[in-house]
Each structure stands twice: as C-alpha cells, then as structure tokens.
C-alpha cells in the first residue's frame, strides 16, 4: 500500500501534463504487473514449457531433440488416443448440457417467490461449496453395484444380486462421472444464470405475455437471449473443467482407454521417463482441443451478439 501512497503524493506535485500522463501510465503498469507476473510467468511459463517438452525439449532427462513431432505422431497415430479424446469430450459435453438444462429450469423456478426460499437458496448451493471428491464419494455410495440404489431395488424385490443392478460406475458410458459433474455444476450454473435473471428483471417477459406470447415463445425469444451471457460464461468454465479433470474419471471411469488427463497421469507415473514427453504431448493435446472448441464457442457467441447488435 505504501507504494501506492507514494505515487499518489508524487502525482499531487503536479508538474507538466505529459509527465502526469507518463506517471499515470507507470501507475497503471505498476498496478497491473503483479497479476501479470504471476499469470505470465507461472501460467504462461507452464504452457510454454508443456509445448516445448512435448516437442522433445527436456534436457533434464537428457533429451533434447527439439523440434521433434514424433511424440505427437506416436500419440495421434494410436487409435486409443482418439477413443480417449472422444471419451473426454463426451463426458465434458454431456454433463455440461445436462447441468445447463437443469440449471436453467432451476433458476426460472428460483426467481419466483415461494415459501422457504431463503432456506432453499442456502441449500442448493451446497455442492458448489464442497470439493469434487465429496461428490465422487457420494456417487460411489449411491450408484455402485453394492450401493444404496441397488439395495433399494433389492428391497422392493426387483433384483436379488448386486450383479443385476445396471452397472453405472466404471463403464465407458461414464454416467458416474457425469453424475458427479452435474451434481457439482448445477448450482454453479444456476448461480450465474439466476444472477443475470435478477439483474434484468421480468418486465420484458411480462410485456411479451401481455402481447400474447405463449410460454415457449417467451422463453426462447425473450428470456433465453437475456440470460445467454450467464450461460456462456458458466458453460465455458464448466466444460473446460470437465475436460481437464482427473479425479472423477480416474475413480469412476471405465479403465482403458481412459480420458486424456488420466492417460497423461499414467504416462507421468511410468517408470520409463521417456513416457513423460509422451504425457506432455497428451497434455498439450488436451489444451489444443479444448482451446479450439472454446474459441469456436466464444466466436460463435460474439457473432450472435453482434448480429443482435449488442456487442
């Protein structure tokens, strides 16, 4: 803080305007630099290092064949990689879409007054506050073949053997993984959408209703465009998380072929250090794929906004 004060006092001296401007500029840079340093050095550095390593630059393992595309070649050349990629995206997409639909319906209900709303607003945010690992534990407890749902079915006599319960966890359909993501992310998306809803008020909807629009029309042509910013930003964040998450697919996934983050982890855990570069190529592939998808998504959204003349 003392630095800020000092600069502020210097600014009070008020010399020529250009100097003032230069000082303001310096102040601006000074204020931005801590964030920039952390993000550029760590985040940017890690990204650059990942790319370099995946291209064969790892002098600390005694490997330096930069630029060497063989790691990507080996990775992309194997069919297992494409299955892994498909699974990664599949879990990411499906859970984001399910969570989104559930969140929209929930926020539309939340905006209305009802008894116990205060309590409800505490309650629905619970998953947001606790780690994904808790969600995984709950899914294991509820949906496993020996879990609570299976026992309830046995109780009502529908099955008499845990093997008869449809397998939900540890399959490539990944409903266990999706359940964790949805459970955790519905509150997050709801919060974002609900906040936007609160901000825009209900007048336009009411006006549309008075003009004779039915509910469907109101939702698709009035409400949805208005909450779109909240939808876009929260789905972006959730999708990116789902694609890069490790713990849920590791514990609840169907084994080989695993999702890409788990594949990368297995490469890094291999005693053979040559595999580390392969792992780095996997990691970079995750980045590239999710980057392309998210940029495409954002660009489409921007275009849409421009068309509507908002941006």
């Amino acid at each position: 803080m003392n630095v800020t004060t000092m600069t502020a006092e210097q600014r009070n001296v008020k010399p020529k305007r250009t100097v003032e401007q230069r000082k303001a500029r310096l102040l601006l840079i000074a204020e931005l630099s801590p964030v920039v340093i952390v993000l550029f050095v760590l985040f940017g550095g890690a990204l650059v290092l990942a790319v370099l390593q995946s291209l064969g630059f790892a002098p600390w393992f005694g490997v330096n064949t930069f630029p060497d595309f063989s790691y990507f070649g080996a990775l992309w050349g194997s069919s297992a990689f494409w299955v892994s990629l498909w699974l990664t995206l599949y879990y990411g997409f499906v859970s984001t879409i399910i969570a989104l639909i559930m969140a929209i319906v929930l926020s539309l209900a939340l905006i209305k007054p009802f008894r116990g709303k205060t309590l409800y607003k505490y309650l629905y945010k619970l998953p947001l506050m606790i780690p994904y690992t808790v969600g995984i534990a709950l899914v294991v407890l509820m949906l496993g073949n020996g879990g609570i749902m299976s026992r309830l079915l046995a109780f009502v006599g529908m099955i008499d053997n845990p093997g008869e319960f449809p397998q939900i966890l540890k399959t490539h359909y990944g409903w266990g993984i999706i359940a964790v993501y949805v459970w955790k992310q519905v509150p997050f998306m709801t919060l974002a959408i609900y906040a936007v809803l609160l901000g825009i008020g209900r007048e336009t909807e009411e006006a549309a209703a008075i003009l004779g629009a039915n509910r469907r029309q109101i939702f698709f042509s009035v409400t949805l465009p208005q909450i779109l910013p909240g939808i876009v930003s929260s789905t972006l964040i959730c999708f990116a998380f789902n694609v890069g998450a490790f713990e849920a697919p590791f514990i609840l996934g169907g084994g080989y072929p695993d999702t890409l983050p788990v594949v990368a982890w297995r490469y890094f855990n291999d005693a053979n250090y040559a595999f580390q570069l392969q792992g780095m190529a996997t990691v970079v592939s995750i980045g590239i794929v999710s980057g392309v998808i998210l940029f495409g998504y954002l660009a489409t959204y921007r275009r849409y906004e421009r068309m509507r003349g908002r941006a």
Partner: protein, 286 residues
C-alpha cells in the same frame, strides 16, 4: 383479467416447478443421509438398508480405532489436512486480494491499448484445463525446489483463483462510480485519505465476497495440490481422494467425507450474508 393471469404465471410456481425444486433438493442433500449411516457402520453389506453391525457395538471390542474413533484421531491426518487447507486458503486469499485489487481498479476505470486482449488473457486459466498446466508446473517446481512445499502450492493456487477475484473486484469497482471519491477530493481529502476513508469501505462488501470465493476455490482444488504436493502436503480434497481412489467407501472414508464437507457448509452459512447473487453474477455475466 389478462394482466392478472400474467402476474400469476410470473409469481407462482407451476406444479412442475414445485416438484422440480423438491427433486433437486433431494438430489443435492439426499445422499448425505446414507453417508452419515455409513460413517456409523461397522459392517454394512448388500442388500441391507441399515448396517448389520453398528460401530458403537464393536467400539469396546475392537483393538483398533474404528469409524469416527479413527476419523477423529490424529491417525487419520484429518487435523493436519484441515489446518493445511485453511492455511493455504488464507494465504492464497490474502495474496490474491493484494495483487488483484490494483489490477481490478485499472480494469474498471482506465482504458488502455490491448485491454480486451488483457482481459481475455486474465480469464484464460479458467478455460485451460488444469491437467494441462499442473504437470508442467511440477517440472518447473522440481527444478526450483518448490515441489512438495507450501510456497509452491500457494503459488499454484493463485492461477485458478486470480481470474475469479479480478472479475469480482472489477465488477465492484465498476459499480462504485467515481462521484464519492471526486466529492471527497473537492472537500480537500488527499488520495490516501480517499482510499482509506471512501474507496476501501465502499469496496468492502465486494472484497469480502471475493475473498470468500477465493478461499472456497482454493480449498476445493484437488489436481494442482495432488500433483505439486507430492504426498508431502495433504489437504482435505487430497486426503479424501487417497481414501476413495479405489472406488469404495468404508466407515472411516464416509466420516472423512463428512468432515471434508464441513468447511464448505460453514462457508455457505456465512457467505450467504456477504455474497449477494447480484454481485456474484456481475463477475460472471460477461
């Protein structure tokens, strides 16, 4: 008549919505009931809906601490993990706040060349998968000697927290308006006084909200802690992960799951007073 009907549609829950609210609540809170039962069980095999033997029945007989006796003993490492989680969360929050406040002021008030690009860069950590940076960070940290250290983990936690903090604080700054500060200036206050007496108090609600949210994000991070802690530093999420990584949940794992949920529940209760949906939404509503 028409207008009354309209008001009704907008002010009353439809039967479906009523059902939906209950269903969502059941999905969210329901699983905690069997979790509590599991944490009290000694032997709870399929297809029993309740444990055949409860922990309390075995408590005296057992030579080793079971269920909650284990969870609440130092053997479970739950205290260590809780303290680590809190300490790391606090440190991350303080540092994050300190470096994001000035940046947020600039982003809210000044315009400069490349601002849009800069803002985009700031939100990149949110949309670049954690796995993509975690392992590369580990390489850097091993070489710097930061792997498996508190400093390393705190630094790493800044990456996913900065974007949230900056966005939330920027939103607050934007909502602030300059009038009050300008008035104070006219009244003869110097910049330091303005900052201390006007700006900071007005920023306070936003700062608290941002701090709570940062703490929350930090205390929920698994991947970065897991990669960079190298087993030496355990937090609540990593402790629970090692307990359930096989995909089963015994009594002590269930107990640990409950404890891991506790800070979030406490935070939820206090945060509702500070985090207003509107403020939060400004951080996300693009």
């Amino acid at each position: 008549m028409a207008s009354r009907k309209v008001t009704n549609t907008f002010n009353r829950l439809s039967p479906f919505q009523r059902f939906y609210l209950i269903a969502v609540a059941a999905l969210i809170v329901g699983p905690f009931a069997p979790l509590i039962v599991q944490s009290l069980a000694f032997r709870w095999a399929w297809p029993n809906l309740l444990p055949s033997v409860w922990w309390l029945e075995q408590r005296e007989k057992s030579p080793i601490p079971l269920a909650w006796d284990y969870v609440l003993s130092p053997y479970s490492r739950i205290y260590e993990a809780t303290i680590n989680t809190m300490a790391i969360g606090l440190a991350v929050t303080v540092i994050c706040l300190a470096i994001c406040l000035p940046a947020a002021r600039v982003l809210a008030r000044e315009s400069f060349k490349g601002k849009n690009g800069f803002e985009f860069f700031l939100s990149l950590p949110l949309i670049v998968p954690e796995a993509a940076i975690g392992i590369a960070l580990l390489m850097i940290f091993i070489n710097l000697g930061l792997a498996g250290s508190y400093v390393g983990i705190i630094i790493a936690h800044l990456i996913p927290t900065i974007p949230y903090m900056v966005r939330m604080l920027t939103a607050v700054y934007q909502g602030l308006g300059r009038e009050f500060e300008e008035q104070a200036m006219i009244l003869g206050a110097n910049r330091w006084q303005i900052l201390r007496m006007v700006t900071l108090p007005m920023l306070m609600p936003g700062v608290v909200a941002g701090a709570l949210f940062t703490f929350l994000v930090s205390s929920n991070i698994f991947l970065l802690t897991f990669f960079l802690g190298q087993g030496k530093i355990i937090t609540l999420p990593t402790l629970l992960f090692s307990k359930i990584s096989g995909g089963t949940l015994d009594a002590s794992a269930a107990g640990i799951t409950l404890i891991v949920s506790l800070p979030g529940i406490i935070l939820l209760v206090i945060s509702e007073r500070f985090i207003k949906e509107e403020a939060f939404g400004k951080g996300f509503g693009n």
